[in-house]
């Protein structure tokens, strides 16, 4: 009888205490769901969502992790949405467990609210990533924003139209290597096309800023906005403002890909990641259409100066909640940033890899089409000959920049009209400078 009792007790103990022996907090039988907001593929096919589906079907199912993408947005709209969610504002959705972010957002949110990825990755593991990229994600002493991809700027063009323009005017791609050649080509295209914009710029301020930096000087003031007293800044602004008021170049609405798709502009300067959003067909107002034949060139540089390669892009942050979610986030990020996977992801989305191994392998990657090959050729050229520059991630900066862009978009038709009516180009450009200085 005693023996039976002992067996019974052992059985009960084994049944009751079985769970205590497990080291992981994850369980395939009761998967943990991580909600995610990201910026990879808004209103378009999303390679990120495909990878996440692959993760959910494989590693996620095996370990008990489900990544549920609830918002796909763009980097401009991301910050206010995250801050509203974090502040639990009425009507704001719940804060996601994983989200694309800039270090500036984390600073506003409070670094204590997000995971420190240094707790999830060993020093040896972190050494496999591009050091500058991981350094950019540091907020205080936390690796709060893990780089999963980085983008730069490139010049995209409607190849079909450019070939005709080039054949008739002699303007070639090599003329677009520096800003002088670029603005000259813009003026000639304006004439050739009967008043169309040569280029739509996604980030006018950043392009102007790179030009000013190439000429020298510190650009930023203490409040995160520009030092408006900097003479190089004004000179660079005026260089962009003159073709702008004449309609040779324009601001994107909201991205250059739209203007190329509608035939409103021949080229566009924007994020390398924008390649995902370019339409393969250009449709003109008379409903005629032709293949876009998208071509990609390096970002023009300041004439006679070393080019500056902007490095930008959001990283991935994890909202600090439970240990189980932290472990799940770590598993996902390890999986997502593996060499080959990182390479496949960035190549599909037009980003630069963040993993040294993936960077090395990119040269031999079988690109899906010629546009992508040209894009990575341009990135390679810029990496090899340009000076890298990490752009500001200050949320306040982007708020003022967006306000400025909105004003400029509204002003441009009248400025263009006034320029056509013979008003002084310099005076019109001065008006834009005044607007720039007035932005709060």
């Amino acid at each position: 009888m005693k023996r039976l009792l002992v067996w019974m007790l052992m059985l009960l103990c084994a049944t009751g205490l079985g769970g205590c022996q497990s080291k992981t907090t994850l369980s395939p039988a009761a998967p943990v769901t991580l909600t995610m907001w990201h910026v990879y593929g808004e209103q378009a096919d999303s390679p990120m969502n495909r990878l996440i589906a692959q993760f959910n079907e494989t590693v996620g199912k095996e370990k008990g992790i489900i990544i549920d993408v609830t918002v796909v947005t763009n980097s401009v709209e991301l910050s206010p949405q995250l801050l509203d969610a974090h502040a639990n504002k009425p009507g704001a959705p719940a804060m996601p467990d994983l989200f694309s972010s800039f270090p500036g957002i984390i600073k506003q949110m409070g670094v204590e609210h997000v995971l420190d990825w240094q707790d999830c990755f060993s020093e040896e593991e972190l050494s496999h990533f591009v050091k500058e990229f991981t350094a950019e994600g540091m907020v205080e002493d936390h690796l709060a924003v893990f780089p999963v991809s980085k983008s730069s700027y490139a010049l995209f063009m409607n190849g079909s139209q450019f070939d005709r323009f080039s054949a008739e005017t002699g303007v070639s791609c090599s003329d677009l290597a520096d800003w002088d050649g670029f603005f000259d080509a813009a003026a000639r295209y304006y004439e050739w096309s009967g008043g169309k914009s040569f280029c739509a710029l996604d980030y006018l301020l950043h392009n102007m800023e790179l030009d000013a930096m190439a000429q020298g000087g510190s650009l930023y003031a203490a409040d995160g906005w520009y030092d408006l007293e900097n003479p190089f800044l004004r000179e660079a602004w005026m260089q962009f403002a003159r073709p702008f008021v004449q309609g040779h170049i324009s601001l994107s609405d909201p991205y250059a890909s739209t203007q190329l798709t509608t035939g409103e502009a021949l080229t566009g300067i924007g994020s390398t990641a924008g390649i995902l959003y370019f339409n393969d067909i250009v449709t003109y107002p008379d409903n005629t259409s032709e293949p876009t034949n998208l071509r990609v060139l390096p970002l023009p540089k300041t004439t006679g100066k070393t080019g500056i390669m902007p490095v930008t892009g959001v990283g991935l942050s994890a909202y600090r909640t439970t240990d189980q979610k932290a472990e799940a986030a770590s598993v996902f990020l390890h999986w997502f940033t593996e060499n080959q996977r990182n390479l496949e992801f960035v190549v599909e989305t037009g980003y630069m890899p963040v993993n040294n191994g993936a960077f090395d392998a990119i040269n031999s990657y079988p690109f899906p089409n010629e546009s992508y090959r040209e894009l990575y050729e341009s990135i390679k050229t810029m990496r090899e000959t340009y000076t890298p520059f990490v752009q500001t991630a200050d949320n306040n900066f982007y708020r003022r920049a967006n306000a400025l862009y909105e004003e400029l978009r509204q002003m441009q038709p009248s400025l263009h009209q006034r320029a056509q009516q013979g008003e002084s180009i310099d005076l019109l450009a001065e008006e834009t400078w005044d607007l720039f200085c007035s932005v709060q």
């Binding site: 009888m1 039976l4 009792l5 019974m8 059985l11 009960l12 049944t15 039988a29 009761a30 998967p31 769901t33 909600t35 808004e42 209103q43 378009a44 096919d45 999303s46 959910n56 079907e57 489900i66 990544i67 549920d68 609830t70 918002v71 796909v72 947005t73 709209e77 949405q81 009507g91 959705p93 719940a94 609405d253 909201p254 890909s257 739209t258 798709t261 509608t262 409103e264 959003y277 370019f278 339409n279 393969d280 067909i281 449709t283 107002p285 008379d286 409903n287 005629t288 259409s289």
Partner: protein
Amino acid sequence: MRVFSNLQYSRRSLRRKLFGSMLLLTAILMCFLASGLFLSGRFSSTKKETAQTLALQMEVFERDMASYWEKTAVLGIHLSQEMTRLLEGYLTEQNILFEQLTDSAVHIAGVQEAVIGPLCQSLRQSDCSGAFVLFDATVNSRIEHAGQSRSGLYVQKSGNGIADDDLFLYRGLVDTGRRYGVTPHWKWRLEFQSDLFPNYGELFSRASLPLESSYRITDLFTLPGTSEQAVLMTVPLIGQDGAVYGLCGFEVSQRYFKLFHGQPTNLPHMVCLLTAGDNGTLHAEEGLSCGISNGYYFAPKGNLTATDLGGGLTLFSGEDSSYIGVSREVFLSYRDPAITAAVLIPKEDYDRALIKSGMQTVLLVLLLIFVTIVCCFYFSRRFISPILKSLANIKSENRNGELFYIAEIDDLFAFLAEQDREHERTLALLTQEKQDAQSEKERLQDAFDRALEKYESTQAEISRLAYDRKQEVDPADYRQFLHGIETLTPTEHRIFAYYLSGKSVKEILSVAAIKESTLRYHNKNIYSKLGVNSLKQLLRYAALMRQDDQGNGF
């Protein structure tokens, strides 16, 4: 039987016997309990509960679908009436015919300008991901494929979430869209391509009044240029004269459907399908699917083959995964064929629930057995211990004074005490009697000893006297006497024995049944043969002879 018999009659302790009886009783009770649970269907509770839950979810999903599509149809009909009114208003205002829209960029822009506001408003009022209006006209009939190009507007909600008000222009004039804050979609095109519009020819050919019976739901299709899948609810634009101007309606994208129709449930991986089904096959990827509120689900892929599991459940087997669920045909518009609504859970979840339920039952049974054994052990021990103690007391004969507070045992001890007292009294009597008997025995022994002593002295006297007599008897006569006995006839010998036994003549006459004369005759012969003269001499020789025989015997 023999074993049972052996067990039945084997010598077991009282405690084991009680333990066994209690165990048997418990086992019988548990059997009855199990039978009751089985008969009341408690053992199949997982399957039953799953079927009930899924049936309830199906009810909710079906009502949700019916309500949703009905509301969308009402909005679609209103949209059609409004678009038709605005179009005819513009045509009247411009004094042109509808056919004159074709090849007129100005009038097409004018019409789009007129309808875009109400179209966006309808979209925002609806629970749909997009709204469109398509006119049977094109801006340029001279280009290649102009026959498939149709002017119109197609506005979509942003993918950021249900509450997001941002709109994208998927089809239509960019400038018109911009003026209403509608940003061109990444995959924007100026006009619709009718060859990519699902069921386009059929929708046009069957367009007729009343609108209430003319709305349709298209097949699931991929929005050109994107990976997004959607269905359209279409309503024809029919003028006052019956002319069909085009189509309008709403888009329900898979992404939006998933977001908007996530079902409230406690089934963590539930999937709801609204898709085509035939002959026991569910075409999972040909329709819309959604999961649970604020949750993720694994959308079924390919075709799912249905197998009835009984109890209201169906197994849906696919190439990659299998599901358990319920399905039902639903009618969402008048003329469209029935669509199958299905509510499914992954088979792994169902199997896990079954295993969990089984494990719980096994654990419960084990626990019951454990508790039963412990209880039987404890109670049998508790019940038997006073009995064993009392038995031990009985054995130890120390049963005085202690009370067990068990009526039967205390009564038994009272009875035994009374018996003891009775026995003690009997014993005392017997002891007394024994002592008396012992005294009597001793007295008798003394008397016997004295009698024996007297007897022995008498015998010695007799021997001495016999010896003296013998010395007085003539040995020759005595020898003749002894010899003469052997010559006696049987009758004479018998009469001689009568004399020796002390019988009188009268007694001998009576015993031997002879006459006195006969006796005298025999006496004469006997005297003669024995050489005696009288009966007295005869008896003296006989006594001597007996004395000799006894002396030889001593």
